[in-house]
Amino acid sequence: MGLATTILQSRAVAALASPHGVDRYLELVNPMWAATEVRARVVDVHRETTGEHPVATITLQPTSTWRGHRAGQYVQVGVEVPGARRTTRCFTISSAASAPGERFTLTVRAHSEGLVSKFLVERAEPGLVVHLSQAQGDFTLVESPATPTNNHLLFITGGSGITPAMSMVRTLLRDGYDGHVGRRVTFLHYARGPEDQVFADELASWADADNGVRVVLRHESAGDPRFSAIDLARLVPDFREVDTWVCGPAGLMELVELAYDGSPRLRTERFKPPVVKAGSAEGDVVFSRAGTQAANSGAPLLEQAEAAGLTPEFGCRMGICFSCTARKSEGTVRNVLTGEESSLPDEEIRICVSAPVGDCVVDL
């Protein structure tokens, strides 16, 4: 940490910059200057695949406040989507573990519904500044390059779930962890077809090199077998006894979990927390902080939260004072005063005048 950063983070400077904080001044001079917040500049955009849901790898130069990441972690990325609305989504870091202030990459697939992923893949250009969190998540590689073991490591991934495993194997290879002393890595990946296969060249070079990494690609369109315990046992006979990391679509995850039968060696990462659908016609409302869920009654969220036994803050109960503002992370709400509907993810809403339309998740 440089002297400038130490000074900028000092209590004296914080007192001088009160009440707005140092970053509110620094960002106006140069968006890449920060004392506590993390931002990054896009330095490269590389298209991995084209087609309906194209994938791009985006290289980011973070501010000096970036504390680095462990392989397998993700980061929250906020961008200003058209209409001047900042929208934030999580993305797994695809490059090898980074040190503080060091560059890293995100590999992003543009989902048709994903405001942020579409924006990043289709519109991000070098020079764009994005807002970041620090790296988060516990789906990480426990093997330390400094004190390597000769454990066999197994990665099972599907579709975009390949990114955390990429970061882990890249870290291992970069730091000189290879198979010469009997350590093995098995990398099993499921993709729709060769045209959807990201990192194809790099995976091929891993497979060719004498490094103990075995790469197995299963392409649905080529008629390759889908995941099954039998197929896996053919590749890794004692798989339940092997440290395994799995990440991919819900269907794959379920099959793998079934196959492992509760083995503690299995580590899983889901892109989205599973939203349980109870099937009520109006959908369900999830109060994520309280961890409760109830059938959507169609009433404003404040009333529904109160009915569920929560006591959210409120004032006017008519939409003018903003006391009741809460974050809606998913779903559509209708403003009961105006009838407007809004489906933006991670949106601040006034729960006293917002009624959910269908399923809805609120941070309460």
């Binding site: 001088l16 009440p19 209409g83 934030t88 008519m318 003018i320 903003f322 006391s323």
Partner: protein, 406 residues
């Protein structure tokens, strides 16, 4: 989006009352069916603006924030150059006024929450003022904006200190009305910070001191931070110029206090602005809520720069109708609101700053005095004199409430 073309709006006429319907009260001169139509017209305006929020509004508030920070830095820096002292004070005053009014007040109303930017979020914004934003949001956004001008509910009527309405019972204490008003102006940010403590209710025995403990802590934390930077750290950083910088910072706070007090008092207290009773506003419909906001507020006419420096509170009427729309939209909305008022035969209170200020000052003096001699306990001999004075003051030309063409 222009769902509602201007021609359309001008064509429409206000609906006539349905047979047998009565206006809500003298103060609220529309019938329930008219109120419904009136409320729908207001909702339509709001919806149209909400649908059109976007880059222009974001750019605007970003520009204002940039200007405010630049004035602040310039002000702090100019204190190192003693001959530039007046300039430094001016720059810092402008910074504080922009911070409190066009940025702070409006951001805390949630006008920019749709942008999702933490620095402009009503939940996180903290202003350059000794009143903690949390408490301000309660007393202002909730109490004042919900119960606007309802005597006994809206604590902004006289701030618990002044008598600003005939329905507030006279007491000899109020003879000091002009003096209290002057002091409130000078110490406005402190008055605002103390506002939530409801000192008047403690004196009246309606509130316990212990209820204030948490508020106290919040206020003290904020006061310490504000005082530390303005009255210790920044002066100390200028070394031997400490006293000059200290005086400069105090002056900037004073300028902001005076300005904010005057603008805010012109928003609800010029003559003609209505107040309401609790009974009148029971079971209020949305249309009636709009009507109360309209009749309980007053605008100040002026140029673009003036509107910016008032945080667009010069459009107090539009602000009270649509407190969560970005304030830069109020001028565009004002024309429509005025047109609607004309059709419904409603008053639209507006006037230049001088006129509104004079009207407010007259009201402050007028209500220092009792309305009737019988209001004055044990002063029957002086009753005649008091009555004379009262009559004299109330004969002052009352300020016209004709919509101002500007």
């Amino acid at each position: 989006m222009t769902a509602l073309s201007t021609e359309q709006t001008h064509d429409r006429t206000a609906p006539a009352p349905e047979p047998g319907e009565q206006p809500v009260s003298d103060n609220l001169p529309l019938t329930p069916s008219q109120l419904k139509a009136f409320g729908e017209e207001m909702d339509a305006i709001r919806q149209r603006i909400i649908a059109s929020l976007g880059e222009e509004d974001a750019d605007y508030i970003h520009r204002v924030v940039k200007a405010q920070r630049a004035f602040e830095v310039a002000g702090r820096a100019l204190f190192y150059v003693p001959p530039a002292w007046p300039l430094a004070v001016a720059a810092l005053s402008v910074s504080k006024i922009l911070d409190n009014m066009e940025i702070g007040h409006n951001v805390m109303h949630g006008q920019y929450d749709w942008m999702g930017e933490p620095g402009l979020s009503s939940r996180m914004y903290e202003w350059d003022n000794v009143c903690p934003s949390e408490q301000w949001k309660y007393s202002h956004n909730y109490i004042h904006h919900t119960f606007t001008n309802i005597v006994g509910k809206d604590r902004d009527i006289g701030y618990g200190i002044l008598r600003m309405d005939a329905d507030q019972k006279w007491h000899p204490y109020y003879l000091g009305n002009p003096v209290y008003a002057f002091l409130l102006m000078v110490f406005f940010e402190w008055g605002v910070a103390m506002h939530d403590l409801e000192v008047e209710n403690i004196v009246a025995g309606k509130r316990k001191i212990s209820e204030n403990a948490a508020l106290h802590r919040g206020i003290m934390r904020k006061v310490k931070r504000q005082a530390l930077k303005d009255y210790l750290l920044f002066p100390a950083l200028t070394g031997p110029l400490f006293p000059l910088t200290l005086a400069g910072n105090a002056t900037a706070n004073l300028v902001r206090n005076i300005w904010a007090f005057n603008i805010i008092f012109c928003g609800h207290f010029p003559a003609g602005v209505a107040t309401f009773s609790v009974e009148e506003t029971e079971n209020e419909s949305r249309g009636q809520w709009y009507l109360r906001q309209l009749l309980g507020s007053a605008n100040i006419t002026g140029g673009k720069l003036f509107h910016l420096m008032t945080g667009n509170l010069s459009h107090q009427i539009e602000h009270h109708l649509f407190p969560d729309l970005p304030a830069r939209r109020y001028p565009e909305v004002a024309a429509e609101v005025q047109e609607i008022c004309e059709r419904y035969g409603l008053e639209y209170h507006t006037g230049p700053l001088g006129k509104q200020l004079f009207s407010v000052a007259a009201k402050i003096c007028r209500f220092a005095l009792p309305d009737r001699a019988s209001d004055v306990p044990g002063l029957s001999t002086l009753a005649g004199a008091a009555g004379l004075v009262t009559r004299f003051v109330s004969r002052r030309p009352s300020v016209a409430v004709v919509p101002d063409a500007a």
